[in-house]
Point group: C2
Chain length 279, copies 2
């Protein structure tokens, strides 16, 4: 046992592909078990006997160093590969096997077990749409090319450095949403109405706001001790932006407490069904 | 029954958070069952009785329109909310419940069932690292600010429009990797050696290549019928880039057949352990 009051425990996420899904699943489930210091180890592209054998050895070795035997989440669908992992002293949870009996019974068929043949998230049409969306988002970042807003699914607005760009990039990359963003500058904030660039697209605007103290920290990183980064200026910018949102009847999302992933999911949910991209 | 030879079947992905993980899991599992036209419907932020009741009604309604009853993947951890979904005529698979008995036994404790309190992927330190990585990647996109390469975890190189930018953005956004990218231009391609901007960072270079015909299609979109987009030019660029990769002993990854997610996972896997970010 280590001296720490909270035990450390290894979590292996083993996949024959990127491991992104199995890691996300493991984290979402294990976050519910408090009082354990989970140490995540992703093992991707485990697609041969040799690689599976290596991972199995590693599970034993690292398990021996920590406080308890590891937890292993796998998405391996090949039974031979799974055998190696199963042989290690660990709690092995296979996300594929868990649902297989119920699904096979419901569908009256057995799944394909070929390695690497199917990966639902990257079908070619949806994939190309996502790459095109990233192109569009980069070409309309930070108020550039406002004349392309008629092709945008959403135009994210807010003061400088409140989180518009990462939100738009995630929307594009993950959902294939053509997401432009527009910074509310001094000119916008002193005006009693929306700029002409935005006024014609009010149905696709989405507002972001942020805690002024947090904004001050972020702007300090970019331009230390500038008027732009001062707390007074941040307070004033946020206050005036929120007044503008109120004028146009919009409730902005606060990026201080909400992750890019969550804001993106909320934006997609709020988009009219017809606009919602099919990825 | 519809007239189509392949039956259409609804897959609901129900989450009290973004639904990103449960959708990815459902897609990865169901892609293994061929001969079904899966129609994915993500229902995010289902965190009240009213919302759960609405989703349950929708499952019944949409199930009635398609060929068979829906499959429902849920990550709901609140038993009250789960009851609504369970009441619908559907195959309901709860990703949380599936692993709960084994985990509770192994850990000797019960999970927290509070709604929205834990989301492992967005702990504040890892989250901020990812946002900072996106900033760095944007500031070093397309060969800009090469003097910042000493701060990069990886510098992705390849000919113009071969997929460097989306790869770097995914690396930054998902893994928190500081990923710069550098286009191999005419000057680089005619030179017998690496440019001085790259030569000092050979241990962190990662090469991408692409099928010349695909590259021609992509460049045509950007600058139609330009010399830059011509098939001859694309062939020559790719050939010379691959010769350069060979000179420096590098095996590039082909973006024609490999998704941004997969390339990123491979890059992270290949990075030296000390450099690998802890997200």
């Amino acid at each position: 046992m280590s001296n720490a009051t909270i035990p450390r425990r290894a979590v292996f996420c083993v996949s024959d592909h990127t491991g992104v899904t199995v890691e996300a699943l493991a984290r979402s489930i294990l976050a519910r078990f408090e009082d354990v210091d989970w140490v995540y180890l992703v093992r991707s592209f485990v697609d041969t006997d040799a690689k599976a054998a290596t991972v199995a050895k590693e599970i034993v070795r690292i398990g021996g160093r920590l406080d308890d035997r590891p937890i292993v989440f796998t998405t391996l669908i090949n039974k031979n590969l799974e055998k190696y992992v199963d042989s290690a002293d660990a709690l092995v949870l296979n996300t594929f096997s868990a649902f297989l009996p119920a699904l096979s019974e419901e569908l009256g068929s057995l799944p394909s077990r070929d390695i690497g043949s199917f990966h639902g998230m990257s079908d070619s049409k949806g994939y190309q749409r996502r790459l095109d969306a990233v192109d569009f988002t980069l070409s309309t970042d930070d108020g550039v090319n406002v004349h392309h807003y008629d092709r945008a699914n959403v135009v994210v607005i807010g003061v400088s450095r409140c989180g518009k760009t990462p939100t738009c990039l995630y929307l594009a990359m993950h959902y294939g949403v053509w997401a432009a963003n527009y910074p509310l500058t001094e000119e916008d904030l002193v005006s009693p109405r929306l700029s002409s660039a935005l006024a014609g697209h009010i149905d696709r605007l989405y507002g972001l706001t942020i805690d002024p103290v947090r904004l001050h920290q972020i702007r300090q990183q970019r331009r230390p001790d500038s008027p732009y980064a001062s707390l007074d200026r941040c307070r004033s910018d946020v206050e005036r932006a929120e007044r503008l949102f109120k004028t146009i009847g919009m409730t902005p999302t606060d990026t201080t407490a909400t992750s890019v992933e969550e804001i993106s999911a909320r934006i997609v949910k709020s988009m009219k069904l017809g606009d919602r991209p099919k990825v």
